[in-house]
């Protein structure tokens, strides 16, 4: 990749550049370039984009099923003039357990998260299931009492806030999910809206290592250094040690990339992965 980590982040570009720390050092020009897979035919950037899109759209298809089911439950309760209860939401369980089984290991958590104050019998609620240490699915039980738990308010997390404020589906992360799993994850979420009123979100978690396993083969077959970044420039996967997952790719503006075609920024090619907020950067 010809554009390297800028020594200064965009937010501090005008300030001092003499800083230490990992991720700040310019890439060593003598370092090996991307390790192209010798035994396999080269892949095109379009193939890589398609692989990323297909992987995550499969997860979004599951989220869509949860969204529809949650909408029916909330809508059914409201039709008889009641707020839905946690017992009503328990009807989602067979569907959520099936998703965990069908999409293992890619989907590592699935469920519905209620808008606080919208349920009859709980101030806040996650109908959330994830595999336990033995692989058997378990419900997530959180301390949601704001006076006692430091983690009670989940409305600030991107996976909740973005669908709530934009009405659109969202890919949140990569981020350290210390609320549900303590894992480095992506969360794919969609708003559940009934009669124009926001009721919560349907979502699924994908541990980043499982996402990486799904896209690594095609990234490795790309002839040039490449990485996938989210809208903030955070790297989700790459084919080079110079740009590892979790670090920020400086000096590019992924949000400016149109949905189709290759977009050039500073000698790099950027491609959106369909309508997903992930961008493949090559060059």
């Amino acid at each position: 990749m010809t554009v390297q980590h800028s020594p200064a982040s965009p937010r501090t570009a005008a300030r001092s550049t003499a800083r230490g720390g990992p991720g700040r050092t310019p890439a060593d020009p003598a370092a090996p370039a991307a390790a192209a897979d010798p035994g396999a035919a080269a892949a095109t950037a379009e193939e890589a984009v398609a692989r990323v899109r297909d992987t995550l759209e499969r997860v979004f298809a599951a989220v869509e099923r949860t969204r529809e089911a949650a909408e029916r439950i909330v809508g059914g309760a409201r039709a008889v003039g009641a707020a839905p209860s946690t017992a009503d939401l328990a009807a989602l369980r067979p569907l959520l357990l099936r998703q965990l089984a069908e999409h293992a290991p890619l989907i590592s958590g699935a469920g519905f998260v209620a808008e606080p104050g919208s349920l009859a019998d709980a101030p806040a609620w996650l109908e959330w299931w994830q595999p336990g240490p033995d692989g058997a699915p378990r419900p997530l039980r959180l301390h949601l009492d704001p006076d006692r738990s430091a983690y009670a308010d989940y409305t600030h997390w991107d996976w909740f806030a973005i669908p709530r404020t934009t009405g659109q589906r969202a890919v949140s992360g990569p981020y350290v999910d210390y609320l549900c799993s303590d894992e480095y994850s992506l969360t794919l979420a969609a708003p559940v809206t009934v009669g124009g009123e926001f009721a919560g979100i349907a979502a699924a978690d994908v541990y980043l290592r499982h996402f990486e396993a799904a896209v690594r083969p095609v990234l490795r077959r790309l002839p040039a250094p490449a990485c996938l970044v989210n809208a903030r420039g955070r790297i989700a996967a790459s084919n080079t040690a110079r740009h590892v997952a979790g670090s920020l790719l400086r000096g590019v503006d992924p949000a400016a990339v149109p949905e189709t075609g290759a977009h050039r920024q500073g000698g790099l090619e950027l491609r959106r992965c369909g309508t997903l907020p992930l961008v493949l950067v090559t060059g």
């Binding site: 937010r11 430091a150 981020y175 303590d182």
Partner: protein, 247 residues
């Protein structure tokens, strides 16, 4: 894959000391009761369920429950609707926390501080390199929450722990985040004790501000030094308090 050497094997497969696990579970639940995370009169989940959630055997859990009953933090009711119920301790909170502090030796406190300073310092350095606008906004909000909690030691301790966890999350490291969470479950009550001292809580507000300014400026080394200093200030105070407790 390279095979582990004989010595490493012995370490890996050595039994996890049951007594240590009993102590760890008792300390965690005891701290939660002291901090009010578990309320007076609250019924604990059934033994099998609770043991599964804590990831320990029912034998280990029972050992811990016996210890908590001896400390007067739990009572057992028999018969229908029976089980283990929280009995919130009486007396001023500072006194009770001092009693818990007495369970630690100075060397243990020093080592706890060294470990926490190493984790917190490394997390702060990486956060300065890796956080984005969103991460910074979350840190700022928690810093304000902490400053606004002045005078309420339990609320200060909650906000402080959350801030430390968020710094580790901003570092994009699940391992460092898990370590920070472990510190808060293992030593949350001690932190609460330290923050019940007004001058230390005031200093912590200033330390948080400087730390966040360094993270925002991308000054990794500065952030690391400030985080280490912040942990040391609290541990030094705990050591002072511990040394002045009657033996």
């Amino acid at each position: 894959m390279e095979r582990l050497s004989g010595g490493a094997h012995l370490g890996v497969f050595a039994p996890v000391q049951n007594q240590a696990r009993v102590g760890a579970v008792a300390r965690r639940l005891g701290d939660a009761i002291e901090l009010g995370l578990l309320a007076d009169g609250e019924q604990l989940p059934g033994e099998a369920d609770l043991a599964a959630r804590l990831g320990v055997s029912t034998v280990t859990l029972r050992g811990a429950l016996v210890a908590l009953r001896e400390q007067g933090l739990l009572e057992t009711r028999r018969g229908r609707g029976g089980g283990s119920f929280v009995t919130a301790p009486s007396g001023p909170p500072a006194e009770r926390l001092r009693t818990r502090l007495a369970e630690y030796g100075v060397e243990e406190l020093r080592d706890l501080g060294d470990h926490h300073a190493a984790v917190s310092g490394a997390a702060s350095l990486l956060a300065a390199c890796r956080t984005d606008e969103d991460g910074l906004a979350r840190l700022r909000r928690l810093e304000e929450e902490f400053a606004a909690a002045a005078g309420d030691a339990a609320a200060l301790a909650r906000a402080d722990r959350r801030l430390h966890v968020e710094v580790a999350a901003a570092a994009q490291s699940p391992r460092l985040t898990r370590e920070e969470i472990r510190f808060q479950t293992e030593s949350g009550a001690l932190l609460c004790l330290a923050l019940s001292e007004d001058d230390l809580a005031g200093a912590a507000v200033r330390q948080h501000r400087s730390l966040l300014a360094a993270v925002e400026a991308g000054d990794g080394q500065g952030a690391r030094a400030l985080a280490e200093e912040h942990v040391r200030a609290a541990v030094d105070r705990l050591v002072d308090l511990r040394l002045h407790l009657p033996d």
